[in-house]
Amino acid sequence: MHDVAVDAPTIATGHAPAAAPPEGADFEIVPRAGLPIIAVVLGLLIAGIAVNEEWPLTFLHVVGGAAWTIIDLFLGFVLGPIMGKLSIPARVELTKRLMPKMVLIMPTVVTVTLAAGWQLAVHLGTVQSSFDLHGWVVASYIVVGVMAIIALGLLEPANIAVLVELKKHRPNPQVIEKLMKRFIYTAGATGLMQVATLVIMTKLASG
């Protein structure tokens, strides 16, 4: 079984000339202005784990988890289908503005949610196999594990690759189309998994 790399011509084959993406898109793949904010958030996470108290850990886990769930659901079920129906130039414009922010936001939100959540669970004792709802906790590990594999293996590489393609003087619409399709489908899959996360987390919170 082999992947096939497509060396397609750089003209907008199969699309009307007006559908071709603009040449040499001027944007940052990783928005440098956002890096200090990320550093502050990660600093808060380190501090939260170091003090190991319930309120800061709950705050970081709930805020991070809420952001992660809402972004996944919104991308998967609202923005994804809309993007699929946009014209290519409109999709390119949206992608250039949305995707660089996602490159910073998603890994940070996921790291904060999982690290603070694990520490909180250790603090509360809910990671212990003697915990009443241990089966639900293990189910949450599995759901998060599957989401991580999809996000790391498919979603994140597609996100970066589409941005690199858009940085070229003459982006290839076929490559963008293929990568965006992958992004939208995987965002939908993780959106579905987030529904399972909501079920598990509300069960754990209510006992």
């Binding site: 060396d7 690290a115 594999i149 293996g153 970066i160 858009l166």
Partner: protein
């Protein structure tokens, strides 16, 4: 339209990640009881073998755009090293030690190398020699 055949890097990387995630879940689901490490070690070894296979298969691809691969992979490696470091910090903060710490640390190493490899590959596979990069 010309086509270049490439090894199944994405499939192998996702399988490798699935194996270390399974090992992590196996260890985490038994806390605080002592747990045989053999299944987790076997999963980690299989995952590391897939990483080595992936790198070997990629190294054998003729005319692979390595410069474009490393342009992206080096920054991804930095980012995922920071993420792996945060997770390791949480392990150490909770006084994890012994065999479980070694297995989980090596799992993080596989994770921190394989994900950037996959990102670099996904970018480089769409490289076309005639398309110059745009403004930085």
């Amino acid at each position: 339209m010309s086509e270049r055949r490439l090894p199944p890097v994405t499939q192998l990387a996702m399988t490798s990640l699935a194996l270390i995630v399974a090992g992590g879940i196996y260890l985490a689901s038994h806390i605080p009881n002592p747990v045989p490490l053999a299944p987790a070690i076997a999963l980690l070894a299989a995952s590391a073998l897939l990483l080595a296979t992936n790198l070997l298969l990629l190294a054998r691809v003729s005319d692979f755009p390595w410069r474009h691969f490393f342009d992206v992979a080096k920054w991804a490696l930095l980012a995922y090293t920071i993420i792996a470091g945060m997770i390791e910090y949480a392990f150490l903060r909770n006084h994890l030690k012994g065999g479980a710490l070694v297995v989980l640390t090596l799992s993080l190493v596989v994770f921190a190398v394989h994900v950037p490899t996959l990102i670099g590959f996904t970018v480089a596979r769409f490289y076309e020699p005639e398309s110059a990069p745009g403004p930085a």
